[in-house]
Amino acid sequence: MSLNSKTRFVAIVLGGLGIALSAQAALSSAGPSTFEFRAVGPAGLTINGEGSGLVATEAGGIVTLVVPLTELKTGISLRDDHLKKALEVTAHPKANLAVERSKLTFPADNKEFDGSAVGQLTLHGVTKPSKFTYKVKRTGSDYHVQARLEVDITQFNMEVPCYLGVCVDKNVKVKTAFKVRDN
C-alpha cells in the first residue's frame, strides 16, 4: 500500500467514524427555558400566560419539544383552572412538537439562522402538522433557540374558551426560548 493509499484509507476510516459519531450525536436541553402564550379576546382583551419545564430531546433523528401543561399560569388562578379544563390536562398533561432533525438548519459556530419548518404538534390528544418559525444561534456545541408558532385550538378538538360572555380567539400564539446541546 502506497503512502497515498494509506492516507486515503485513514481518511475514509476517520470520515466514516465521523459520520457514525454524528449519527449518534443527539440534542438535549441544556439550561433554563421559557414558554409563553398569548390569547386575545374581544375589546382588547389579552391573556398572557407562561409555563415551565420545557424539555428538548432527540431520538431516531426526531427532535421533540415537550411542555407540561399542568402548571400553566395566566396570573389569575380561576382563569388557570378554566385553561386546564379546556386543555383537559388530566387526560392530556403534555403538549409536544416533533420535528425531523434533517428539516432544521444548524448554523456554524457563532452564526445565526432564521427560518421556519413544519413539525407534528400534539395537543389535547390530537396530532397535526404545524408550521413554526425559529431563530437559532450556535456557540460551540450549544444552540440558543427562539421559536414561535400559532395554534388554532379548534383544530385540536378544543372548544374556544368563554367565560361570562367573553370568548378568546381560536388562534393562540406561542413563544419559547431554550438552549440545547449537541452531545
Binding site: 386575545v40 375589546a43 382588547g44 360572555g165 367573553v166
Partner: protein, 405 residues
C-alpha cells in the same frame, strides 16, 4: 408682549418635548398601568363604556373581585368562583341586562379655611347604572342624586331637576343609544363621558378640570364612535353641547377624542385632542371662546405592583395665552387591594385678556401634590383618603367610603 408670548409658547412646548423624550426611553420598560399587568390593556372587557368607567360587565365584576380587592388568607381549593351578580352576588341579572350602582360619601378637612375646617358630605355620589343589549343595539344610562353647595362647579351640569342652592337634585350623567357594529366598533349617541386623556376616578385632578373632561358632570350630548383592538383603542366624539342646562349660548360644541397605542401588556401611550366653542363660557363668562386641549398620555408599569399614569396637555383659548396642564401618578400596590399613590400635577391655564378670569392658575404655574391611600377592603367596598397640597390650597385631607353594586 410678543416676546412674552413666545416664551410662554416655549413653556408649553418644553414639557411636551420632555414627555416625548421620556416616552422614547420607555419602550424597553417592563411597564403596565394598573390593570395592564393582568393583560387588560383596554377597558371594555370589564366596563360597558368602551373607554372605561362606571357600569361593570359580569366579567368585570368577577375580575374586580379576583384582582382588585384585598383577600384575607389563602383561598381554599374548593372555594366557589366569585359570583358575577349584583348586590354582592345576590342577584344575577339576565345576560343582556347590566345593572350597577355607586355610592360615595365624603369628608373634607381644611384647617386653613375658617368656618369650613371640617365637612361631611353624607352623599357625594348615589348613582344607579344600567344597560340593555338588544342584539347589536344598546340602551344605557345612569340616574342619581346630588346635593352641592350654591355656586359649586360640580353636579350642576348633570342636573335633571332645577333645584337651586343646596337643594337635592336628580342627575343623569350618562344616557345613550348605541349600535355595536363589531366587537371592535361601537357607535353611541346621547350624553356621554368625553373621550380624552387618562380616564381616572379623581375628577378634581387638574387635568380633568382644566380640560373639562371629568366623569363627575362634564359629560356632553353628542355622537361617539369607539374602537377597541388588540394594539390600539380610541374614541372620537362630536360634541353637540350639554342640553341639561341653558341657554344655548353656554353650550360648548366641537369634538373630543383620543387614540392610544398598546405596545404590549405593559405599556400604552396615546394622544388626545379636544376643541370646543361656546358663545359664553359657562364657568368664566368669557365671550366667543374657542377652547382647545391637545396632549399625550402614558400608562405603564415598570414592576408587577407599580404602575405609572401620566398626561400632559397644551391648553389654548381665545384671547388668552397658551397654557398647560399635566399630572403624573405612581401607584404602588403594597399588597393586593391596598394602594399607595403619589400624584404630582401642574397647571397654568394661560392669562386671558378678560378681567373676568383672574384667579390663580391663570398666567402662572400652579403645583399640586397628592398622597393617597386606596384600600379595596372587601368585595365592592373601597375606602380612600387623599392628602392634597396645592399652590392655591395648602392642606386638604379628604376621605371617602365607596361601594358599588
Amino acid at each position: 408682549m410678543k416676546k412674552e408670548r413666545k416664551s410662554r409658547g416655549l413653556s408649553v412646548l418644553l414639557p411636551l418635548v420632555a414627555f416625548l423624550f421620556v416616552l422614547g426611553f420607555s419602550q424597553n420598560a417592563h411597564a403596565y398601568a394598573w390593570m395592564l399587568q393582568h393583560g387588560y390593556t383596554a377597558c371594555s372587557t370589564c366596563h360597558a363604556d368602551p373607554s372605561g368607567g362606571e357600569l361593570l360587565t359580569p366579567y368585570g365584576r368577577v375580575t374586580s373581585d379576583l384582582l382588585l380587592r384585598m383577600h384575607y388568607g389563602a383561598p381554599a381549593k374548593d372555594d366557589p368562583p366569585p359570583s358575577p351578580g349584583v348586590f354582592w352576588g345576590a342577584w344575577e341579572p339576565p345576560e343582556p341586562l347590566l345593572v350597577s350602582g355607586s355610592y360615595r360619601n365624603l369628608y373634607v378637612i381644611r384647617p386653613d379655611q375658617p368656618g369650613r375646617e371640617v365637612a361631611l358630605v353624607p352623599v357625594m355620589q348615589a348613582d344607579l347604572y344600567g344597560q340593555l343589549r338588544l342584539g347589536k343595539f344598546r340602551l344605557g344610562g345612569s340616574i342619581g342624586l346630588s346635593k352641592v353647595t350654591a355656586g359649586s362647579p360640580h353636579a350642576r351640569a348633570a342636573q335633571v331637576t332645577a333645584g337651586q342652592g343646596n337643594e337635592l337634585n336628580l342627575i343623569a350623567r350618562n344616557y345613550y343609544a348605541g349600535y355595536q357594529f363589531s366587537s371592535e366598533f361601537l357607535l353611541r349617541a346621547g350624553r356621554l363621558n368625553l373621550p380624552f386623556g387618562v380616564r381616572m376616578p379623581e375628577h378634581n385632578v387638574w387635568v380633568r378640570e382644566a380640560t373639562r373632561t371629568d366623569r363627575e358632570s362634564d359629560q356632553q350630548h353628542g355622537l361617539a364612535l369607539a374602537y377597541v383592538g388588540e394594539h390600539m383603542r380610541g374614541e372620537l366624539m362630536g360634541i353637540g353641547g350639554n342640553y341639561q342646562f341653558g341657554p344655548d349660548q353656554f353650550r360648548e360644541r366641537g369634538y373630543s377624542g383620543y387614540v392610544e397605542g398598546i405596545a404590549n401588556s405593559h405599556l400604552a401611550a396615546g394622544i388626545s385632542s379636544k376643541v370646543t366653542f361656546a358663545e359664553v363660557d359657562r364657568l368664566t363668562y368669557e365671550a366667543n371662546t374657542l377652547r382647545q386641549a391637545h396632549g399625550l398620555t402614558l400608562r405603564a408599569a415598570p414592576f408587577d405592583n407599580l404602575s405609572l399614569l401620566a398626561e400632559v396637555n397644551a391648553l389654548f383659548r381665545t384671547n388668552a395665552d397658551a397654557g398647560y396642564v399635566g399630572f403624573a401618578q405612581v401607584n404602588y400596590e403594597a399588597i393586593q387591594g391596598f394602594h399607595v399613590l403619589l400624584t404630582g400635577e401642574v397647571l397654568d391655564q394661560g392669562l386671558g385678556q378678560s378681567a373676568l378670569v383672574t384667579s390663580t392658575g391663570y398666567g402662572e404655574p400652579n403645583l399640586g401634590g397628592w398622597l393617597s391611600l386606596d384600600w379595596f377592603f372587601f368585595k365592592q367596598l373601597e375606602f380612600r383618603t387623599d392628602l392634597i397640597t396645592r399652590t392655591t390650597d395648602k392642606f386638604t385631607l379628604i376621605g371617602q367610603l365607596h361601594f358599588y353594586l
